[in-house]
């Protein structure tokens, strides 16, 4: 009996099956044909997209919603380069992702072959690691290493470039279980001395603050952090990406901090005497002006990535380890801090400076998102695009459980929200998934309406349409003397008709009185994707706001009367 030797492509797909891959998000092309051919006989479901950027964000949304690596498959040249934005997005936000790229045959590498691009070269700065596979027998080892690297430690994207002769040729190399990577260690439990040192510092604090980031989401540290907050009697704040790790409706939770965080969260940052980052990297959106950030507070940083220590702020204590394990190890040593006056102060700020928006003067995004929050009550997965709607969604849609909030933070990638929601819906078929998008970002990946419709995926897309690139317009209003430049989205399509052209159900919200009725229609609709277009007031601003480069204490609660200087901080 003759045994058929699998091709490199077939072997790779078998490796993916062993890794538990359910879906591949991809778009075909010449150099990727052996891989697409191998998928015909696989149980892995191919989700064909309309643009490779869409595939990369779908894999990202899938990964963030499930914690498992999302897998992308594209062809060489432009197919691969179209994933670069998705790679950056995943790298900046520590998302596990595998991008498989077709490549020209290896004898043609470097000879400007048709659809050849130096993809490993182009993507070095936006991957956690990458491979150019030169021999088919390397495939099982490369696949196992790639999944291990992508999903362990601080997760990130790994790219595998696959010349067509490698995927087409025979490969009977055995599967690999254990990898040996002497340059790659994954921190686990922290040094017990560091844990004790943290307990001492927390005990001595009268105004402690727990600052929760995406690392807490990734490691599933939320439950332990809430126990820590309750036992220590300390308030919690979270970053944009830390939303959902801990329940934002918890009485000790002050919501999101930073540039557009709640006033009470930022006041707590200004006045705390100890701030403990749990998987948050002191991003410039959080710290504002570094020289004035928590100058007198003790700073503790728990992170799985030692390169983050002392990068932005000088630390009093760095704890290297997995966030969940660190907090769990810390819990037995925690006693209540003398913090009741501090908690009362935070509560007073919460009452005095609530998030608010005008109830008159037309339909407002905040109103729509406030009602969406009421409808979904933290149960739905909410993804966002990037801009004003993202910040309003972060403020008004409170996250109550892990992996229910998906947003492009570090990269700030417009076009992310809708495809990310598609990926999240594939990963969490039982959950209600809403993409909250602006009119600008939605148009960047709107072709994926076809992908959602093909699979009758019940994903819901709320487009906050103000016919502007609203966040840039807000800055031009506040800092550039109302000189609008390149922000007017005149020529926008009728988004309801656009959705209908894809066969997608769509509704419009024009007046505040429509909001609850239309959101309920979308909430009930389960026959496939649907779109809700909220035609909101054109010129509205996100507050509170800490202008880039300003100190946290100089947060604006509302628009100042006097014209303002241009911000000096990072973008």
């Amino acid at each position: 009996m003759s045994v058929q030797i699998p091709t490199g492509a077939e072997r790779l797909i078998q490796c993916l099956e062993r890794e538990g891959v359910e879906y591949i998000f991809g778009l075909s092309g010449g150099a990727a044909m052996p891989l697409f051919d191998a998928l015909v006989d696989s149980n892995i479901k191919l989700i064909m997209v309309r643009h490779e950027q869409g595939a990369s964000h779908m894999a990202d949304g899938y990964a963030r919603a499930t914690g498992k690596p999302g897998v992308v498959l594209v062809t060489s040249g432009p197919g691969a380069t179209n994933t670069v934005t998705g790679l950056l997005t995943a790298l900046m936000d520590s998302v596990p992702m595998i991008v498989l790229c077709g490549q020209t045959i290896s004898p043609m590498l470097g000879k400007d072959a048709f659809q050849e691009a130096d993809v490993t070269g182009i993507t070095y700065p936006v991957v956690k690691h990458s491979y150019l596979v030169k021999r088919a027998e390397e495939i099982p080892l490369v696949a196992r290493e790639a999944f291990h690297i992508a999903s362990s430690g601080r997760p990130g994207p790994v790219l595998i470039d696959l010349p067509k002769d490698v995927t087409q040729g025979p490969c009977d190399a055995p599967f690999v279980d254990d990898v040996e990577l002497p340059g790659y260690t994954v921190p686990n439990r922290a040094d017990p001395e560091d844990i004790s040192a943290a307990a001492e510092l927390l005990k001595a604090s009268k105004r402690p603050l727990l600052y929760v980031g995406h690392g807490a989401v990734i490691s599933g540290a939320g439950k332990a952090i809430v126990s820590l907050a309750e036992r220590l009697r300390a308030p919690m704040v979270n970053t944009l990406l830390g939303k959902g790790a801990t329940d934002e409706t918890h009485p000790l939770h002050l919501g999101m901090l930073g540039m557009h965080g709640t006033a009470y969260a930022n006041k707590a940052v200004v006045d705390c005497d100890l701030i403990m980052s749990i998987g948050a990297r002191w991003d410039d959106r959080i710290t504002g002006k570094l020289d004035e950030f928590c100058v007198d507070a003790v700073k503790i940083h728990v992170d799985v990535d030692p390169a983050e220590f002392n990068k932005m702020v000088p630390l009093d204590l760095a704890i290297l380890g997995d966030a969940r394990l660190v907090v769990e190890d810390l819990l037995p040593q925690i006693e209540p801090a003398d913090s009741e006056a501090w908690l009362a102060q935070c509560e007073d700020w919460r009452q005095r400076y609530p998030l608010k928006y005008p109830k008159q003067g037309g339909l407002r995004a905040q109103h729509v998102l406030d009602r969406l929050n009421d409808l979904t009550r933290g149960k739905a997965v909410i993804t966002t695009d990037v801009g004003q709607h993202q910040m309003w969604a972060a403020q008004f849609c409170l996250s109550t459980s892990n992996r229910n909030w998906i947003s492009s933070g570090g990269a700030g990638t417009m076009g992310f929200g809708f495809p990310a929601a598609i990926g999240a819906q594939f990963g969490q078929p039982e959950k209600e998934v809403w993409a909250v998008c602006g009119d600008g970002g939605f148009q960047m990946t709107q072709a994926e309406l076809a992908t959602a419709q093909n699979h009758k995926l019940p994903v819901k897309c709320l487009i906050i349409n103000n016919n502007y690139l609203g966040m840039v317009r807000q800055w031009q209003e506040l800092f550039y003397d109302n000189r609008y430049s390149g922000v007017d989205l005149e020529g926008n399509p009728d988004f309801v008709k656009l959705a209908q052209a894809f066969g997608v159900q769509a509704w419009r919200i024009k007046r505040p009185a429509d909001v609850d009725r239309v959101l309920a229609l979308a909430h009930e609709y389960d026959e496939g994707p649907c779109v809700v277009v909220a035609e909101v007031v054109k010129e509205d601003n996100v507050f509170p706001m800490i202008p880039a480069g300003a100190a946290v204490k100089d947060m604006l609660i509302e628009k100042p009367k006097a014209p303002m200087q241009k911000p000096t901080g990072s973008t």
Partner: protein, 180 residues
């Protein structure tokens, strides 16, 4: 002179004072692309690598890189952490100020006229430089030692028509039982 230098020469001076030269030693997994990944950690900040030596390590499958560069200590500390984070980098150590043996080789070609030859050979002898090529109108010297010694020799030879200079870049090894 660049525009920046015209605008603020005093600032440039203060920066120079702060930016000491550092020697970083990397022990890396010998895989394609590792050199690019290392170089990009410097390049994304606009940092210049002053010298770089790559060679096989004692253990098969691994390489040594010795890098010299200048920068403020806080940024270099960050660079070293980011180098160590690379999957193919096993160790990254800043040996500046450590007890380490350092050396470098230089080849120097001089278009030397008859009247200067004796002078040049005397300087060479003083620095233990060996004449490795002797032609009608040129001399090639080979010298090794600490980078400061090489700098001093090159400074002395420069007035004698130095036409070519090749330096290997610094290599080092930690003394005693300490790891490089």
């Amino acid at each position: 002179m660049s525009a920046a230098a015209i605008i603020s020469p005093p600032a440039a001076e203060t920066i120079d004072d702060k930016l000491g030269s550092h020697t970083i030693s990397l022990f890396v997994h010998d895989r394609p692309g590792v050199l690019v990944r290392v170089a990009l950690v410097f390049a994304r900040r606009g940092y210049n690598i002053e010298s770089l030596v790559v060679s096989p390590a004692a253990a098969g499958g691994f390489s040594r890189m010795t890098i010299t560069c200048s920068g403020d200590p806080a940024t270099l500390d960050q660079i070293i952490r980011q180098l160590a984070k690379l999957v193919d980098v096993v160790r990254a150590i800043d040996h500046t100020g450590d007890a380490a043996y350092e050396t470098e080789i230089a080849l120097v070609k001089l278009e030397v006229h008859d009247e200067d030859r004796t002078q040049v050979l005397q300087i060479a002898e003083h620095f233990n430089a060996k004449v490795v090529d002797y032609a009608t109108d040129s001399v090639m010297l080979r010298v090794y030692g600490g980078s400061e010694k090489l700098d001093a020799l090159i400074g002395l030879l420069r007035p004698y028509g130095m036409s070519e200079l090749v330096r290997s870049g610094k290599i080092l090894m930690a003394r005693g039982g300490r790891e490089t």
